[in-house]
Chain length 238, copies 2
DNA sequence: ACCTGAACACCGTTCAAGT
DNA sequence: ACCTGAACACCGTTCAAGT
């Protein structure tokens, strides 16, 4: 006798129940969160949104993570895993420079990471592994003890600070294009008035107007990086 | 004949109506916002909370600011005004170093600023004035054109990056104290397992355990700062 | 064990209506 | 002009109840 009970009928008509009936796990949740963050930034992220993307209810997520803060910590460590370094590179300046460039590239791919970095401690497995490889490169370069910490911090700080400035520069430009010509005129007026009180700033802004943002960002990044490496070279034992 | 109408009775019994009957202005709103942010951080801030502190309804704030984003931009520029520099200091290294130290102190007084810095462009009057004085110091030191921009960026980036790292270090320590001994044991277990895979990190963490965070933060800040200034000195014209 | 659905206590923002 | 009060469309989080 036919019925609408899904447990009735031939076995072949009933799909095999997935192992332990799980539709979720941390990996899937974190991946969904990173996807939303990359596409729409911090403002687009909500527990309800992630749940919807996974075809599930918001409450379900709390079975796997303690809350939104936990989830962001996991997402942060996840993308930290994208940073690459070559522990065999013999030239220590090149090795550390490439590590810094790889960090920069990751931070630019995931622009939501930086505010997160500023707001929560960061002790996931990928963060620790990254720290270890950085320390390894510096140790091979000859640094030890307190100077090892300070040199590592100096390089990390440069990357973080530089990318913050770069992102906020790019955002300002993007906002200027989006808001159209009306805003541009208004801004021009504002800048003209400001320029009278800030001649140096005005001159530099005029000079930077035509410049390609990508090229100029790279140039500034490398400038400070080489300054730092020079300073480190002068302090390097032996 | 007595009545409860407040407009009745002697003039002396009616308080003088305040000028234009204003209870609010941007200055008061921004000050209230900064107070909440300093005391309770970004999570404690809400339009309703600010309004309540000012004895007013949330909707009223929208007469003076376009929204929460505007308000945060104003608050950010407000505290940027606290940074000090001495444009007469003859030693250019000392002048730039002191500026960096003043920026660091401000960022540590207002720990909510850094994530804000990472998330919105920053073109308020105090931000521009600060940029102008920085450029002035570097120009007096002999830098010009593209190197002027790069040198300014290098110093700013260092301050921002260093304070981000310092705050997240301090937060991690504070959290460890707050969550009590149970968490400490758990963390110790975790770290023991981690240490096997990360010997360099383990050694440095052990060495840093006893150290005063304030002293060590200053030491690292100065280390990178002097590295940078060395690099700048080598690139300085004349 | 794992997920739903409803509820709770919040948000930012808008806007008619009052004065 | 300036502020209220209510409403709208959201939040994160909790938790009994289902399977």
């Amino acid at each position: 006798m036919p019925t609408s009970d899904p447990s009735a009928g031939s076995v072949w008509l009933r799909p095999e129940r997935p192992p332990r009936d799980r539709r979720l796990d941390r990996g899937r949740i974190v991946a969904a969160a990173v996807a939303v963050l990359d596409a729409e930034g911090h403002r687009g992220l909500s527990m309800r949104r992630i749940a919807a993307d996974l075809g599930v209810t918001a409450g379900s997520l709390y079975w796997y993570v303690n809350g939104k803060d936990d989830l962001l910590e996991l997402a942060l460590d996840h993308v930290l895993g994208e940073v690459r370094a070559d522990p065999e590179e013999p030239d220590w300046r090149r090795a550390l420079g490439d590590l810094a460039r790889s960090q920069r590239a990751m931070l630019l791919r995931h622009r939501w990471v930086l505010p997160e970095l500023a707001v929560r401690p960061n002790l996931g497995p990928n963060a620790l592994a990254l720290a270890e490889t950085g320390l390894g490169l510096l140790a091979r370069a000859g640094f030890a003890d307190a100077d090892l910490d300070a040199a590592m911090a100096a390089l990390n700080d440069h990357v973080v600070g530089a990318v913050i400035a770069e992102i906020s520069w790019r955002d300002a430009l993007a906002r200027m294009r989006d808001t159209g010509t009306g805003w541009a005129e208004q801004a021009a007026d504002h800048l003209r008035r400001v320029s009278e009180r800030h001649p140096l700033l005005a001159r530099r802004m005029a000079a930077t107007r035509e410049i390609d943002v990508e090229r100029e960002s790279v140039r500034r990044f490398e400038f400070a990086l080489q300054c730092l490496l020079d300073g480190l070279a002068a302090r390097r034992p032996r």
